[in-house]
């Protein structure tokens, strides 16, 4: 290492002399920092309203959208499941003899205030055939005389939510994508 001598000190002395206008330069730097702080605070408040606040690659945006849709679908399915009858009694149908058979519909709808059954046998009228709530509270029943043969039907909850019978097979997709249930009534049986 080169030994330090008087020349080094002379150079250092020249270098260390304060620059003219140093104080003003420092004040300008502090003012810029304060301005930046103020801008940052304003930006953070406006961020939620800024249409350009987020920028991302299209691929990342598509992936985020898919994740959001998946979360939405999962949440929606969970919500629908909570609205749907959870434990429908199997084959809720009783049979009587003759050309017509009286069928007992049984449906569980927690939280519902009105449940009806609508099908080809009542012209799909959502109010024509109401079910009666039984003592347990969540279960609704109705006894309906039907002609022997194949019928399609669905339950209507609170006059607006159509849902198929979870204890019966599904019919092919109906108009507007709605699903109905299928019921085959015979002289001495119901499928």
């Amino acid at each position: 290492m080169t030994p330090r001598d008087a020349w080094d000190d002379e150079v250092r002395e020249a270098y260390q002399r304060p620059l003219a206008g140093e104080t003003e330069a420092r004040e300008r730097a502090i003012a810029r920092l304060r301005g930046e702080d103020a801008r940052r605070a304003a930006r953070s408040a406006e961020w939620w309203l800024d249409p350009n606040a987020l920028t991302m690659r299209p691929l990342v945006a598509a992936a985020c959208m898919l994740v959001a849709l998946a979360i939405g679908a999962f949440g929606g399915a969970r919500w629908m499941a909570s609205r749907r009858p959870v434990t429908a009694p199997p084959a809720p149908i009783a049979v009587e003899g003759g050309d017509r058979t009286t069928v007992t519909f049984v449906f569980r709808a927690p939280g519902a205030t009105r449940v009806c059954v609508a099908g080809d046998f009542n012209g799909w009228d959502p109010d024509a055939t109401p079910l009666t709530r039984v003592a347990t509270g969540d279960t609704w029943t109705a006894r309906v005389p039907l002609e022997n043969g194949l019928h399609t039907y669905a339950f209507v909850i609170d006059g607006r939510e159509w849902t198929p019978d979870p204890s019966a097979p599904l019919a092919p997709v109906a108009a507007f994508g709605r699903r109905n249930s299928v019921l085959v009534v015979g002289e001495d049986h119901v499928l």
Binding site: M1, T2, W7, D8, V11, R12, E13, A14, Y15, Q16, R17, P18, L19, A20, G21, E22, A25, R26, R28, A29, I30, R32, L33, R34, E36, D37
Partner: protein
């Protein structure tokens, strides 16, 4: 209050603490950038950018006992970028950048000394000039300069020696 204590306060949201750090270190930063770049206006801009970056990065800064070295590391990087810009400008205009570190307000003696120093180091390439100023100007130890510049200590010693020999010869020539 030490730099480390001020850093802790600044991270906690005390704006005054960071301003105190600026007050302490701004003169050295400006002096270094002005001599390194040979342009006082550019130097002031670079120092402001350095302080802004340091302020933004303060929460992520771990070496709280070496604030000056950390600040100088940012400053050296900003100066290298600015030096590249100045070089590009020089190529475009094909003119020499006149050193403008002497400004109104210097005494005649200071002006003469500063002009001589500026002239003596102007032919050094940026890496040699950087090492020379950090060692002889700021008086830093080699291991500290190594952390700032990213160069090894032996390489820095070589750069300082070559730069010192060159500057000394030029200094004496200007003196006479």
């Amino acid at each position: 209050m030490t730099d480390a204590e001020l850093v802790v306060r600044a991270v906690a949201g005390d704006a005054g603490a960071f301003e105190e750090l600026v007050t302490r270190h701004h003169p050295a930063c400006l002096r270094f950038a002005a001599h390194l770049l040979g342009d006082r206006i550019e130097a002031e801009d670079v120092v402001q950018e350095t302080l802004l970056r340091a302020h933004r990065s303060l929460a992520r800064y771990q070496e709280r006992h070496q604030f000056r070295a950390w600040l100088f590391r940012i400053l050296v990087n900003r100066c290298r970028t600015a030096s590249g810009r100045a070089h590009a400008r020089r190529l475009r205009t094909a003119t020499e950048l006149e050193p403008s570190s002497a400004v109104v307000g210097d005494t005649a003696d200071t002006f003469e000394l500063r002009t001589r120093l500026t002239r003596a180091i102007e032919e050094l390439d940026p890496l040699h000039r950087e090492a020379f100023l950090l060692k002889l100007g700021e008086g830093l130890e080699y291991d500290e300069i190594a952390r700032i510049t990213g160069a090894s200590v032996p390489a820095l010693k070589m750069r300082v020696k070559r730069a010192r020999d060159h500057v000394r010869a030029r200094w004496e020539e200007l003196e006479s």
